[in-house]
């Protein structure tokens, strides 16, 4: 049976390989700290559930310090020239899309169609977190297809991914770090405190007012924090879960999904989301750093109103 643990081991092996490659990369001025960072990620995937949580917590703090002190740098990678890429693009054509499309297609096929399939009386995929297992398997299938198409080895594929990962750097971990922050927030009672503040303003028995407070809160918090992922655990623990899901029986999947998208409306309107709003303005050499935000407000506000309307229509079914 393929279960999540196996996928974690594969991912852990991948990061261990990346850490070793980073350590050998003499083109990287900070190769030791870069390697250490990815080695901690590998350790978390390979043995996270067996390590004492305090040690893992210390590892997380160490990673944040490494990231904060500029310990992660890009190195040198075996790259092909622009000309080679053009030639290959012409030679392979639309076939290049096949492995890329295999990732979502195989994921969907396994997670939905073949979810409960059995081979020789054994489940093929573990019953826990099936879509994540499906994603892991899909990546391996797509990798095999890509290697076949380009006549390259998996090792060279990993080498190519090093360039992408180093470009993302610590940002690749940000969703996970924000999720961990959300758990700490929840344990520390941040949600309760936010709910307390909201209850003073919004009557808890008025579900429409609560819904509006949740959606506007998601957008507002995202504008303050620059990231909907950071706002989601705070607002959902404060309003969404206790007052709407538990209080008024709202559908958690729809509320969560549309709540998150209300946060995205906030992302369109804030300079805090520098990657999306300020960086392109600089890249396009615009005089006004907020020019992109100005163009987005006209989409964000009506869309936020649509989100509130959709939520009202679907979450209380």
């Amino acid at each position: 049976m393929i279960d999540l643990q196996l996928i974690y081991w594969i991912a852990g092996g991948y990061f261990a390989w990346l850490a070793a490659a980073a350590l050998r990369d003499r083109g990287n001025p900070r190769r030791h700290t870069t390697a250490l960072f990815w080695a901690i990620v590998a350790l978390a995937l390979l043995a996270g559930e067996r390590l004492p949580p305090v040690l893992m917590g210390a590892g997380v703090v160490l990673m944040a310090v490494l990231a904060g002190c500029g310990g992660l740098r890009p190195g040198r990678y075996a790259q092909s020239s622009a000309e080679e890429k053009q030639t290959e693009a012409r030679r392979l054509g639309h076939r290049l899309f096949i492995p890329a499309l295999l990732i979502p297609l195989v994921t969907l096929l396994l997670a939905v169609g073949l979810k409960d399939i059995e081979v020789l009386g054994q489940r093929l995929l573990g019953s826990e977190q099936t879509s994540l297992i499906a994603l892991g398997v899909a990546c391996l299938v797509a990798l095999a297809a890509a290697c076949r198409l380009t006549r390259q080895s998996p090792a060279s594929a990993i080498e190519q991914s090093r360039r992408l990962l180093d470009a993302m750097s610590w940002a690749a971990l940000l969703p996970l770090l924000l999720a961990a922050l959300g758990s700490v927030f929840a344990a520390a009672g941040v949600g309760t405190a936010v709910a307390g503040l909201v209850e003073q303003v919004v009557p808890a028995d008025n579900r429409v007012a609560l819904l509006i407070a949740y959606a506007l809160g998601m957008a507002g918090f995202t504008m303050i924090m620059g990231n909907a992922f950071a706002a989601f655990p705070v607002l959902t623990a404060g309003i969404g879960l206790p007052l709407l899901v538990q209080g008024h029986g709202a559908d958690a999947a729809a509320l969560g999904a549309i709540g998150m998208l209300s946060g995205y409306c906030g992302t369109l309107m804030t300079p805090m989301a520098a990657n999306f709003n300020l960086v392109p303005a600089a890249l396009l050499e615009l005089k006004d750093p907020n020019a992109v935000i100005r163009m987005q407000i006209g989409t964000a506000i009506p869309l936020l109103a649509c989100n509130i309307a959709i939520m009202y229509l679907v979450v209380f079914r």
């Binding site: 992408l164 344990a187 936010v194 999947a253 959709i310």
Partner: protein, 225 residues
Amino acid sequence: MDYWPLIGIAWVVLGFALRQNPALVVVSAGLVTGLAAGKSIIDVLHLLGEAFTKQRYLLLFLLTLPVIGLLERHGLREHAQHWIRSLRGATLARLLIAYLGVRQFAASMGLTSLGGHPQTVRPLLAPMAEAAAEADLPPLDEAERQRLKAMCAATDNVGLFFGEDVFIAFGAVLLIQGFFAEHGIRLEPLSIALWGIPTALCAFAIHALRIRLYQRRLRRKAPPA
């Protein structure tokens, strides 16, 4: 009611406002919040480590990188650019709306790295949009040209944001699932992803309408003297 833990939120706001490294801001905010809630440093590290391990599935999307890296080395981006170029219609609005649709669809299949500001907007979309405007609309002054480029960047953002949430293995979907699982509510990622579709359609409709209105305004505008 204990309002001290809210100091963690203020910490995040301040850290981001002062342009500190986001990873450092987030982790230190966790420490500050835990300490403000009266926990010991060992307890906070325990919480942080436990949460990190429990939710490490948020790293699994990185397994797509070897495939993308290998394909990019063999001209995936170049081929995508040829292909998008062949989509060129006659007008600015058609170009931007087609880009919005393709970007949103690709993101909903998890192919978020097929576009982006450095990859497609600056080298491809912005020049093509300018060319389309020059061919079809009254001459633009410099300020209007800048707004046009900003519209290109905005179109990329809208397409990305309201497409990626429909992909089941995307971080946001997993974060939502993880949050509710932590509180004893089990959800299927697919059901969360499907609830992203109504908003995705609205986003496309609203932004496409705005692009059309924008083009109409440019068309009616008297050429600068």
